[in-house]
């Protein structure tokens, strides 16, 4: 990595950090309104540290100003990957200062879980958390879902050229309008309209189920942010079970299903292209896999005789399967119930849907329905080619916002990412078994972190080995950024070290 590259990365990463420090104003205001004085200080300290570091980074890369044209793909990837790591450390400070985590590692775990919209929790005693920290946790997952780097750079940095490279670096690759600033603003506009609508709906639902008006509003904000971003966090230990409400579960379920759809699809529907919903390969893929998984899970769970009526089956089985498939992670059963009551068939179904995940360019994780659809269509087209005459030249297409030719390169690229996810999942499962957990438990938890889901079978706890916490952080990070950015950052770091080494020897 050259000095020039380091300066470019420092400059843009600095703005991302600065943008995140400004976001801490929201929990600061929450602390003021709730008269929570210690959390107010915690966030002031964190904001001071983040803003100082962000400014130092910007100043170090000051020569980059006005030269956005020199940004290359590697810089976009490296800024995205590096910013996420630095932000993890900075955003963990309020957690650590609150005293609700046993260690800084646990705090980092929760922040990465939030950023990546995973939803696994190591924070202790959620029921006594301040409103400020709860606001911060849910904000992180909401912003993480839409893309932090894109948010910061679209709204803070004036130059817009080169922005697409940061956008792709953060795992999103759809251009809704020709420039990335416009695309990022559309993504945020869509999310904010849903935010207002969703918060009002959940607030009314909250009042209906017996919450007092003020807490109903806070719960509505938290649960919408968590559902829409397919995050899985909740303000109370019992997660969605705290509310004991079919209505609340159905409303959150609607939002996490919508949240797992591609932003391009939302935009197409907003523009009146309603047919896109039926023709889109991701929606077709999601509908098929969700239906099959739900039907199989119902069949598997009905044999246990645990849930005897349709309502119970819907609230405990369908809700959890769809939550897993959309990589949300809101759970309507206790973690240990998966291990003790769902049986091997139930666990396997959950593992599969957690790995598949939601749509590309959405808030969801997993290796995405789009890739599953492409690989599946690729297999079918290969079989058809084998069966048809050698003379016939047929072009195979699929519909994803527009008709796209199914090329071998596209199928190979999709298969490669799926293989990367499977390797990550395999290592996670192996590590779990090495640490003494059963194969079923290890694979469930590994699928949950790899797919950024957040459902737990009981492994994720403050007492789990530190090596597993570190691996899970890495898996969430790699899974969310879809490998490329992290590989680019590692590649640049290795090149930089090699150069220094050569210079010293020379």
């Amino acid at each position: 990595m050259s000095v020039r590259s380091a300066e470019i990365i420092s400059y843009y990463a600095g703005y991302v950090i600065l943008g995140t420090s400004l976001l801490m104003i929201i929990p600061v205001v929450t602390a003021l309104l709730s008269q929570e004085w210690v959390p107010l200080l915690d966030f002031t300290i964190s904001m001071g540290i983040a803003a100082s570091l962000g400014l130092i980074f910007v100043l170090l890369g000051r020569r980059t100003r006005g030269q956005a044209g020199s940004i290359q793909w590697k810089h976009g990837f490296a800024v995205a990957a590096l910013s996420w790591i630095i932000l993890m450390f900075l955003c963990s400070i309020p957690y650590m200062l609150s005293g609700h985590t046993y260690s800084y590692l646990d705090a980092c775990f929760d922040v990465m879980s939030g950023f990546t919209t995973t939803g696994l929790v190591l924070t202790q005693d959620l029921d006594h958390l301040s409103n400020a920290l709860n606001m911060w946790r849910h904000m992180l997952t909401f912003i993480g879902g839409q893309g932090m780097v894109v948010l910061a750079l679209s709204f803070i940095v004036k130059e817009s050229s080169g922005g697409y490279k940061f956008y792709v670096g953060e795992g999103k690759d759809i251009a809704l309008v020709p420039n990335v600033k416009g695309t990022a603003r559309i993504i945020w506009k869509i999310s904010m309209v849903y935010f207002l609508f969703g918060t009002i709906v959940l607030w009314i639902a909250g009042l209906f189920i017996g919450l007092n008006p003020a807490s109903a509003l806070l719960h509505a904000i938290y649960m919408f942010e968590s559902s829409w971003s397919t995050g899985g966090f909740a303000p109370m230990t019992q997660n969605i079970m705290y509310y004991h409400s079919f209505l609340y579960e159905v409303v959150t379920m609607v939002f996490f299903i919508i949240g797992s759809f591609n932003f391009g699809l939302h935009y197409a529907i907003w523009q009146g292209k309603r047919k896109e919903f039926v023709r889109n390969i991701e929606i077709q893929s999601f509908a098929i896999t969700a239906f099959l998984a739900t039907a199989l899970a119902i069949a598997a769970l009905s044999r246990t005789g645990l849930y005897m009526d349709a309502v119970s089956m819907f609230r405990r089985v369908v809700f959890n399967v769809v939550s897993a498939h959309t990589t949300t992670g809101l759970g309507s059963v206790y973690a240990r119930q998966f291990a003790l009551q769902w049986g091997d068939a139930g666990i396997l179904i959950m593992v599969i849907v957690m790995l598949i995940g939601g749509s590309a360019c959405s808030t969801a994780g997993g290796f995405k329905g789009l890739r599953v659809g492409i690989v599946f269509k690729g297999i079918i087209s290969d079989v058809k080619k084998l069966l048809s005459s050698e003379r016939s030249m047929r072009v195979y297409k699929f519909h994803y916002m527009k008709d796209i030719v199914l090329s071998d390169g596209l199928v190979r690229a999709s298969a490669l990412i799926i293989i990367c996810y499977m390797v990550l999942f395999g290592i996670g499962t192996l590590l779990g078994t090495f640490c003494g957990y059963s194969l079923a438990d290890s694979s469930f938890e590994a699928a949950s972190v790899t797919g950024n889901v957040g459902l737990s079978i009981g492994i994720t706890s403050a007492s789990m080995p530190a090596v597993m916490k570190i691996y899970y952080i890495l898996a969430m990070y790699l899974g969310r950024l879809e490998f490329l950015s992290v590989f680019a950052l590692i590649g640049m770091a290795i090149t930089g070290v090699k150069r220094i080494w050569k210079r010293k020897r020379g």
Binding site: S21, S34, E36, W37, V38, L41, D42, T44, I45, M47, G48, I49, A51, S52, L55, I56, V58, L59, R62, R65, G66, L97, D127, H128, L129, S130, N131, I209, G210, L211, N212, S215, M236, T237, Q238, M241, Y242, Y243, H244, F246, L306, Y307, M308, D309, V311, S312, M313, F314, R315, R316, S332, V333, Y334, R336, Q337, L340, Q341
Partner: protein, 169 residues
């Protein structure tokens, strides 16, 4: 048989009888943790149990009955109770308050058919063992100093940033 020996036999008989009669009740209603209930849900399903924990969040009113969530430190669970029982709880735990500590005796359901398959407890008796209270929020001086220090450093760097970029412009 001697009078003394007869007396000893009598006491022993009464003791053994009481133990035999009392033990199942004790075993059935000994305080269990929420995690223990979940871990051995099939064993406790439909049985009368007793749990001790803190009332958290708020009371969720549902017609003639209310939901109250209880946390015992290991986990939390919903208790389905009458309005009269719920009214006895005056303080619920959150950031500012420690909720009332309650002893609940009731029937545990691993997948309650009445409540959509949720694991819950239907309350029979409720005892407030400790009244909740407002927590004393102490503001550490070190945090005030750190906040002032980092805010100043951010302000100083911002001034430097403004000056450097104004010169460049």
């Amino acid at each position: 048989m001697e009078k003394k020996t007869r007396l000893i036999y009598c006491i022993l008989t009464v003791f053994i009888s009481l133990t035999l009669v009392g033990f199942p009740i004790y075993a059935q209603e000994a305080a269990v943790s929420v995690n223990e209930l979940i871990e051995h849900s099939a064993d406790y399903n439909g049985k009368s149990i007793s749990i001790t924990g803190e009332a958290i969040g708020e009371c969720l009113e549902r017609g003639e009955f209310d939901w109250v969530n209880i946390s015992d430190g290991s986990n939390a669970i919903g208790i389905w109770m009458s309005k009269k029982d719920a009214a006895m709880i005056t303080c619920y735990g959150d950031y500012k308050y420690t909720g009332d500590t309650v002893i609940i005796t009731g029937t545990f359901y691993e997948a309650c058919p009445e409540h959509g398959g949720e694991p819950d407890i239907h309350c029979q008796t409720l005892i407030i063992s400790k009244v909740g209270e407002l927590k004393n929020e102490k503001i550490p001086v070190a945090k005030i100093l750190l906040a002032a220090g980092f805010a100043s450093s951010a302000l100083f760097l911002y001034v430097a940033y403004r000056q450097i970029f104004r010169k460049k412009a």
